[in-house]
Each structure stands twice: as C-alpha cells, then as structure tokens.
C-alpha cells in the first residue's frame, strides 16, 4: 500500500531543489571561473566593473590579442576529450598495465605522463597549428574574445616561479612518501589491535590533529634558526642550519599530517576483512609477511586516497612554509602572498591572479582524476565514526 502522492514529490519541491543545486553550483564555481577569466585579460579589462567587458576583454582584443571562433571550438573540444579520457580510459590503462601490487605507482606515472602530454599538445603544438588555420579561414578566423597569456609568461619566466614550483614539488613528494610509509604501518597495527593502548594512541592523535599549526611552528622556529649550533656536538662542523631548507619543512608537515593519516588508514584497514590475514597466518606467514603479501596488494585504493589528502595539506600549506623558509626561496603559496602584498600597479595585480590560477590548476586536474577517491576518503573516516 503505497500512497503515490506521498512517495512522489510535489513539482514545486522538485523544482526548488533543482534551483538550489543550480544556485550552489554557480556559487561554488564562480570565484574560480572568474579569476581564470581575469588572468588572461589585460589589467584594464580584468578589473573592469562591467562583467561583460571582463569576459569579452575589449581592451585586450583591441591590442590584437584574442581567440577566434576556431580557436575556441578546438580548444574546448580538446579539453572535453581530455576530461573524457581521464575519467574512463586512463583508469583502464593503468589497471591493465601496472604490475601486480604496484597500482599506486601506476597511477602516479600514468597521471604524470598524461598531464605532460596534455601540456605539450595544448600549449606547445595547438597554438601554432591554430594560427595557421586562422590565417586561411577568413571571417571565422577573426578574434572575438580577448585573450592574452603574457601574465603567465611574466609569472613563470621572469619571476622565477619555477624555483618555487620545484620547492613545492620537493616538499609535497617528501611529505606524501614519508607520511604514507609510517602511516600505513601504524594504521594497519591500530586496525588489527583492540587493545586499550591503541585507543589511547588514537585519542591522542585526535588531540594532536586539533593543534593549531602555529603552536608547532613556535616550537620549531628557534631550533631551526640555531640548529647549526645545537647540532654541532653531534654532526661537527657540517651541522646544517635548518632554517630555509625546504626538506626540513617536510618533517614539520609530516608531523602535522601524521595523526590524520593514521586515523584515515586505520579505517581503511578495518574495512579489509581480517580473515584475509588470518588465512595467511594459518598458512605460516608472520604478521609482517602477511602484511606484505596479502594486505599490500589490496591496500592501494586506501593509500592513494590518504596520499591525496597528504598532498593537499603539503601543497596548500601557507603557515609552516612561509615561517620556516626564507622569502626568496619558498614554495608557491607563500610566494604569491608576497606578490600581492607588494602589488602597486594593476598589472602586478593581474600577474598575482595569473600566479594564483597557476597554483590551483593542478588541483583542478587532481579532482578530475581522483573524484571518486576523494569522495570515498571523505566518507570513509566519517561513516566508520
């Protein structure tokens, strides 16, 4: 006995629910969309108070920098095609070609190769081919949309942003590898132990997770500045000054990240049935052998997800890196802070916008590649409680 009227929602409710979703999507995407638009316009357009002028970029267009209808269609279709490939084809290829038990590395290498070939095609080959087409195709080849990449070239080639980029890569790689190595071991141990000690470690980790990062930085900073003198008795004259060393901040970020990592990995390991390692134990494996031979091949989805969140923490960090690194040699996020603080002309502002878009572009692709893993990671910790 199902009352049709109660199961079926009234049309007003359905409509307002859809309207709210559309509203939310606009709110969610608009600021990001807008700064990407601003970053390819000349300053006069980018900070124009009329939104249409910003989008079409009249001023930019009048300087002869723009995109034609052909450019836009080809560019958009390449982007859509890439998106389609990333969601389906790439995953199948990685699953097919990565050696057994190394799915994680397969994903990393696959994603890197894919991203690199996209960059080469999109930024290297496409513009020159398209300019050829524009010349021969008459009215369709006329520029209709203002578009200029000069701020990006300022950021990347004149301002040495590549150095900041390298530092970011170094810090994030270090943080992800180290925190995952320690985290998987601990997470597995905690998931398989019901002892009181395990509970207390988890609770203390939760409290550590709540620590404001500035508290830890206050503990590290004096040590980092004076480390050459403090460490001299141990390392002799070669004792390093840790202040300003990108690799030294890795330790701080790993420590900040570790409580979260073990919580998350623990809940992943709990979802792997313990009968699996018990069976291996019956067959004569030690705990470590069982971990290596039975658990490691099936743990990659959880490890990839946790790795993503470690990556985000290290990549997005501002406080630790800006405090412990010298202003000339930081990672990307602190670098941009100094950029917009010294902004004097509108050109500087648009350059800062371009730098900001450069920083978040990899994150955009990250969501595209790993949407499912991110969602499962967010919910895994929560549903288990």
């Amino acid at each position: 006995m199902k009352d049709k009227n109660l199961i079926q929602q009234p049309i007003a409710l359905r409509l307002s629910s859809y309207f709210f979703l559309i509203f939310w999507c606009i709110v969610a995407a608009f600021p990001i969309f807008w700064i990407s638009v601003m970053s390819v316009k000349l300053p006069l357009d980018a900070f124009n108070s009329n939104p249409l002028n910003v989008i079409f970029g009249m001023e930019t267009l009048s300087k002869g920098k723009g995109l034609s209808l052909i450019d836009i269609t080809v560019g958009l279709s390449i982007i859509l095609f890439t998106a389609k490939l990333t969601t389906g084809w790439l995953g199948r290829m990685v699953n097919k070609y990565s050696p057994n038990g190394y799915l994680g590395f397969g994903w990393i290498i696959g994603a890197m190769a894919f991203g690199l070939s996209f960059i080469i095609i999109f930024f290297g080959i496409m513009p020159s081919v398209l300019s050829l087409f524009n010349d021969i195709s008459g009215p369709l080849g006329n520029n209709i949309l203002g578009f200029s990449t000069e701020h990006y070239s300022t950021v990347w080639f004149e301002m040495d942003f590549i150095k900041n980029f390298q530092n970011s890569i170094m810090v994030t790689t270090g943080v992800v590898t180290i925190s995952l190595t320690f985290g998987t071991l601990a997470g597995y141990g905690l998931a398989r132990s019901g002892s009181n000690l395990a509970f207390w470690i988890l609770i203390i980790a939760l409290i550590f997770r709540a620590l404001p990062h500035s508290v830890l930085v206050t503990g590290y900073l004096p040590f980092f500045i004076n480390s050459a003198e403090i460490l001299r008795p141990i390392f002799g004259e070669s004792a390093p000054t840790l202040y300003g060393m990108p690799w030294a901040t890795v330790a701080v970020l790993v420590a900040i990240n570790q409580p979260f990592t073990i919580w998350m990995l623990r809940s992943f390991f709990q979802s792997i049935p313990s009968e699996l390692d018990e069976a291996a134990r019956v067959d004569g494996c030690s705990h470590f052998q069982a971990f290596r031979r039975v658990i490691m091949p099936v743990m990659w989805p959880g490890v990839i997800t946790t790795g993503l969140f470690s990556f985000l923490l290290a990549y997005n960090d501002f406080l630790v890196t800006s405090m412990l690194l010298e202003a000339q040699n930081t990672t990307m996020v602190p670098a941009i802070a100094s950029m917009f603080n010294m902004e004097t002309t509108t050109t500087d502002q648009v350059v800062a916008v371009a730098a900001a878009v450069s920083i978040i572009a990899p994150l955009f692709f990250l969501v595209m590649f790993f949407q499912r893993q991110i969602v499962s990671g967010l919910t895994a910790g929560a549903v288990k409680g």
Partner: protein, 341 residues
C-alpha cells in the same frame, strides 16, 4: 595481534609523533617562561662635529647590544615566570577597559581582539556549514542520478582549493570596484567599500569559510543519506508522517553521528582560522589567534622575534581548543565505554 608485533607496527609513527609533535610542544611550554634578549651595554660615546669655530662635542650615554666574536649579537635567556603571559593577556589594560565599560578599549588589546574574532568566527560558521551541507546533500540526493557526478565535481572545487587562494579569489571579486562590489552598488544605489571597515571584512571571511567547508559537510551527509534504512522510511510514510516529520524523525537521527563528526572537524579547523587574514589582508581590522602567534614570530625590523610571547600565546591558543573540544571528546569517550560494556 600480540603486543610486540603491535608495537613494531606503530613504533615508527609513534616515535615520530613524540619527536616532532610532543617534543616541540614541551619546548613551547618551556619557552613561554623564558625571554631571550640581546645583552646590552651602556657606553658613553662622544661624537664631535667639526665647525668653523672649532669642534662641537656631544657626550651621550647609549645602550647598544654587545656583538660577539662571530659577528652576532650576544643574547641571554632569562627565566621570567608568567611575564610573557601577562604581556599577551594585558590584564591591567583589560581591567581598566572593564572599569570604563568601554568595549572598544577592550578590543584594542590584540589578544582579546583575536580571541573575540576566533570564537565568533567558529561559532557562527558552524551552524551555517551544517545547514548548507545538509541542504546541498538533500538536493543532490533528490536529483537525477546522471547529474549527481558533475554536481559533486563542482562542489569539490571550493573544498580542495588552496585556502589562501580561495580567500584571494573572493577578495578580487570585491576589491575596489570589483564586479560584485559594483553589482551591490548598482543594486543598493549607494557607495560601498568592502575593505574599509571590520564587519564587512568579517562577513566576507565567514562567507568564504562556509563556501570552503560546506562541500565537505555535504559529501559526508550525502554518503550518510545513501545508507538510510528504506524500510524505516516506508513505515514512517505508512504511519502518515509528513515530509518534514520524515526528515526530522527518521533521517536526522540517522545522520546524527555524521553531524557530530563534521562538527568536530569544523571546530578544529575553523578555530585555527589564519589563511583568511592573509588572503584578505585584514590585519589592520581583524586578527585571529593563530595570526597573533604568527605575528609575534615574524621578525621585526631589527630582526628580533618575540619567541617568548609567541610561545605564551601558543599555549593560550592550545588551552582554548582543548576547552572547546572537551564536550565532543567526552561524548566519544562515553560512546567507547558504552561499546565495551
């Protein structure tokens, strides 16, 4: 798993947490009772300037820092007890402000200003995040299957964006005659300057934070909605529950553990509000507790960093978050004990 293997598995991680979290915490506690200062000496300096009629000499008594053999300023560290804490809290000024019943005087003290903002920021954004998260989750759950994926994709963007840049992207929409400011001006027919007074900046910061965190809440709640027991829902409908009653008495109780989880995470994260202050460059109007510590740590023009004061404000910040979390942690503890009994 026996105790020994357990220790072998968790050992490296625990050792690292002790070495890199617990130890620094202990140093912070110690530092908060000490002050490091350059050692000064008083010298009588005679400076003479040649003039036509002879020399004019001035004798001055100057205090200058002693410079050691290696070219660095010699410093000494003294135990000062609670002086650092007093310097941060500034009780006399606070009491004077109370005596005058002057809120603005009270808010002129950095620590109380930061505390006021941090707490109101945390407590105002919390219900908004829960509400918006729940709304978005219900709407996604209500939508056709084919559009859920794209909507979740777009929802994830504000969540994973670098916080400083997220704040900047909102700031660029409003700064000067940014398009949203000019839209508001056109709509309200008046001049608006969003960065001229504290409350508009605070409003933008809170808006940014809700925008940044609501997707997280939404996705957690959406996952919870997938596991609602359909039989219970159906029996509620048969018993004549209205749509609202269904939500209130079936779905919300089912989501309760997740609401607690999101509350816990949000309390932790919004209490350490910091990136907003940087992104909106709001330090002249609005500061947070983390920013206060950060400011103490940043070296001033002379190259001095007030480590002692920073440590004291760190300790106070930490006490704050522990107090804030006690109710939630108590719930977790009772739950754990209940499960074991």
């Amino acid at each position: 798993m026996n105790q020994k293997t357990f220790l072998a598995f968790i050992g490296p991680s625990v050792l690292m947490m002790v070495l890199f979290i617990a130890l620094p915490l202990a140093t912070v506690l110690k530092q908060s009772f000490y002050v490091t200062q350059p050692v000064y000496q008083t010298l009588e300096v005679e400076t003479c300037s040649p003039t036509f009629t002879g020399q004019v000499c001035l004798k001055e008594i100057k205090t200058i820092p002693i410079i050691g053999d290696n070219g660095k300023v010699i410093t000494q560290t003294n135990f000062v007890g609670f002086v650092n804490y007093q310097n941060v809290i500034e009780f006399p000024r606070a009491i004077a402000a109370f005596a005058n019943k002057s809120w603005s005087q009270f808010m002129a003290i950095d620590f109380w200003k930061a505390l006021r903002f941090t707490l109101s920021f945390t407590l105002i954004t919390l219900p908004l995040v829960l509400l918006f998260g729940l709304l978005i989750a219900l709407c996604i759950n209500n939508a056709a299957k084919s559009i859920r994926g794209p909507v979740i994709f777009i929802s994830l963007l504000p969540m994973i964006i670098t916080p400083v840049i997220g704040a900047l992207s909102i700031r660029w929409l409003f700064i000067g005659d940014g398009i949203l400011t000019s839209f508001l001006e056109w709509w309200l027919v008046r001049d608006i300057a969003m960065f001229a007074q504290a409350w508009t900046i605070e409003l933008m910061m809170m808006m940014y934070r809700v925008w940044h965190v609501a997707p997280f809440a939404a996705i957690v709640f959406y996952a919870g909605l997938q596991t609602v027991n359909q039989d219970t829902v159906e029996s509620a409908i048969i018993d004549g529950a209205s749509r609202w009653q269904k939500l209130r008495y079936v779905i919300l109780p089912h989501l309760m553990p997740l609401i607690v989880f999101v509350t816990l995470i949000h309390l932790m994260d919004s209490y350490r509000v910091f990136e907003e202050v940087v992104g909106f460059s709001s330090q002249a109007h609005v500061i947070s507790l983390q920013w206060l510590t950060y400011d103490f740590l940043t070296s001033d023009l002379m190259g001095n960093r007030s480590i002692g004061r920073a440590s004291a404000s760190s300790m106070l910040t930490m006490i704050g978050i522990v107090l804030l979390l006690i109710p939630v942690l108590r719930g977790v503890w009772l739950d754990y004990k209940g499960k074991r009994l």
